[in-house]
């Protein structure tokens, strides 16, 4: 008995100024491979991204495994069964290692499997520890494709696999291997929605969707050999947190951006402010000591621009299990800057103030990050002048300084 794993119920989607889909009804059943091979601009990527819950709906609802995951009023929910996703852009950050991205996809799916057979199959074993930025376009595409299909091999429960041009830039032999993998995924009961113009997939698709209706396809390719027995092991939790820490350690991005702003502020304060002014109550000492931590937080979370690379931000957003962040690094940096500022002015280090400095950098960073993420749907998010809104933080900062002064924390 087949069941619908993915359903579009009267869905209308607008992109830019045009209505791409109007009242679309569509069901993707267990064990189906549905190919989207309409002409360019017909809405293939729109349909896949909507299925992943990435696009707001003008009308209608989208269900995964019978659970509502998105509706037109903006209500969205994480599906209880994670899905596999390959975006048209690769969805991975250049500073990540190849195997890290694939393992993240598996952790998000809730189970790990041995990835060696696939790395070998697609000739990536020798590159497994390489940064994604060092791979060729085709190799990077293989990584994105594997991150989309491997969740389908985890566990017995069938999953939805959303693959947007998974074979773009892949050579002929890799495409043949992919067709074999897709047939096995179908055999396992997964439901695949695949956008591609490659004719290889016409041979394995069970249906073709032309934008209006689902047409059965006379698939000639059959799965060769038997279904592999793949054992899933325990996954590691919190992949987004782990990725944030790893990327920060590898790129030192928090130190290089937030840290520099903080150290520059500290340097300017040391150069311009006479230490004797602190004891004479001419200035509020707590404000002086917290300024560098505040300036560091105002830079925002560098993880957001980093994740804009190859639309990795959308990939993480779609899985609804958190987006990598730099909060831990902000906490350490803010505390260190506050302690250093006090030492720089020959004052005794006040540990409560150091803790406040750490929290100040983290909170400020979190607010700026929220503003950045709120504009991430724009066509040109980096051109949106979000920093104009940062003065919103000055009044709370001034009130915090006043509170610290009144509380005699120094």
């Amino acid at each position: 008995m087949s069941e619908a794993l993915l359903s579009f119920n009267g869905v209308s989607i607008r992109r830019g100024s045009s209505l791409v889909f109007k009242d679309l009804n569509f069901e993707l059943m267990r064990g189906q491979i549905v190919l989207l091979n309409d002409k360019n601009g017909a809405g293939k990527s729109t349909m896949l991204e909507a299925a992943a819950g990435l696009l707001p709906l003008e009308k209608g609802e989208i269900f995964h495994h019978g659970e509502l995951i998105l509706d037109a009023s903006g209500r969205s929910k994480r599906s209880s069964t994670a899905f596999g996703l390959t975006l048209q852009s690769d969805g991975c950050v250049g500073s990540q290692r190849l195997e890290e991205h694939i393992l993240n996809a598996l952790d998000l799916a809730g189970g790990r499997i041995d990835i060696n057979p696939w790395l070998e199959r697609y000739n990536l074993t020798h590159r497994r520890h390489d940064l994604i930025a060092h791979l060729s376009g085709g190799q990077r595409r293989k990584v994105a494709m594997l991150a989309g299909i491997l969740p389908g091999f985890v566990g017995d429960k069938p999953r939805i696999l959303l693959l947007d041009e998974p074979a773009a830039g892949l050579d002929e032999s890799s495409r043949s291997l992919l067709v074999e993998d897709l047939l096995e995924l179908k055999q396992r009961g997964n439901a695949l929605l695949l956008a591609s113009h490659h004719t290889d997939f016409s041979n394995c698709a069970t249906h073709v969707f032309n934008g209006l209706e689902l047409v059965p396809n006379d698939a000639k390719a059959e799965m060769s050999g038997t279904q592999r027995d793949i054992k899933a092991t325990t996954h590691r939790t919190n992949p987004s947190f782990r990725t944030g820490v790893l990327l920060n350690q590898r790129t030192l991005s928090t130190l290089a951006s937030n840290g520099i702003a903080g150290f520059l502020t500290l340097g300017i304060l040391l150069a311009l402010v006479d230490a004797s002014a602190i004891d004479s109550s001419i200035i509020q000492a707590s404000g002086l000591f917290l300024s560098a931590a505040f300036a560091a937080g105002l830079v925002g979370d560098n993880m957001v621009p980093m994740l804009h690379e190859h639309r990795a931000l959308e990939w993480w957003k779609a899985h609804r299990q958190g987006i990598p962040h730099s909060y831990i690094h902000a906490l350490v940096l803010g505390s260190a800057l506050t302690a250093l500022t006090q030492l720089g002015f020959d004052e005794q280090v006040s540990w409560p103030l150091v803790a406040i400095g750490g929290l100040l950098t983290t909170t400020t960073m979190a607010i700026v990050r929220t503003i950045d993420l709120a504009t991430s749907r724009l066509a040109r998010p980096r051109a949106a002048f979000t920093r104009i809104l940062t003065p919103v933080l000055i009044l709370p900062f001034a009130l915090l300084v006043q509170w610290v002064t009144d509380s005699n924390l120094l």
């Binding site: 709120a374 066509a379 949106a384 002048f385 809104l389 900062f397």
Partner: protein, 232 residues
């Protein structure tokens, strides 16, 4: 006449603002030298208060437009959002700038970072600037409209905060001049000039927003014509 309605209202607004300024400097009575550090600088209040009044109208327009787009997908709502943001930026800057001039003369500092009204009003102006510059940096589309409308709705929370700020947390900013009790009362001549200023700034803001809405409408028409030509 209807075609020139916006221009006519705008022109009347400009004339009224000019007249208000003239009366403020030449005719308005001086305030008590005991009440203010810098009594002559107080004349800027005939510009500052009506500009702030007009800014609140513009921010209200921005909020209604944002809500209409966000909840009803109304093109008129989007045009109101654009017009409200532009007018809010113009009048917000007029208010902030004139307030800073007065603050320098009266308080000795142009800005106080701990005063709630100053900061919330400044933030509203920054929000309007973000909406104007941000919108200009993006292609028009549902994503752009949704994002900026969300900020427009969110920013409106600041309007009541700013309005009640001098009543609840009066730190440095003077209390309300109208409806603020005995301490805020004005004499007849002062009130009349202030009323002329408020009417003039209202006309200015209405004319400005009508014009802006017409420009946005023309932009939308141009874009649809271009899209139709793309398909030929």
């Amino acid at each position: 006449m209807t075609k020139r309605l916006a221009e006519t209202i705008l022109l009347l607004g400009f004339i009224g603002i000019g007249t208000t300024l003239g009366l403020a400097f030449l005719k308005a009575p001086s305030v008590s030298i005991n009440a203010f550090e810098s009594p002559e600088a107080q004349r800027i209040f005939y510009w500052h208060v009506p500009a702030a009044w007009a800014a609140f109208i513009a921010f209200g327009f921005l909020f209604v437009g944002s809500a209409l787009w966000f909840f009803k997908r109304s093109d008129l709502g989007w045009r109101m959002h654009v017009a409200g943001a532009e007018a809010g930026l113009a009048t917000g800057l007029m208010t902030v700038w004139s307030g800073m001039v007065w603050g320098s003369a009266e308080w000795g500092v142009p800005w106080d970072w701990t005063d709630v009204r100053l900061n919330t009003f400044g933030l509203l102006t920054f929000l309007a600037m973000f909406l104007v510059l941000g919108r200009q940096s993006q292609p028009d589309g549902v994503e752009t409209r949704d994002t900026f409308s969300t900020f427009g709705l969110f920013g409106f929370v600041l309007v009541p905060v700013t309005y009640v700020a001098t009543r609840l947390w009066q730190i440095r900013h003077p209390g309300p001049v109208i409806g603020g009790g005995d301490s805020g009362s004005l004499n007849g001549e002062m009130a009349l000039i202030l009323l002329l200023g408020a009417i003039s700034f209202t006309l200015f803001i209405v004319g400005h927003m009508l014009m802006s809405m017409r420009i946005t409408s023309l932009e939308q028409r141009l874009e649809s014509i271009q899209e139709a030509m793309d398909k030929v």
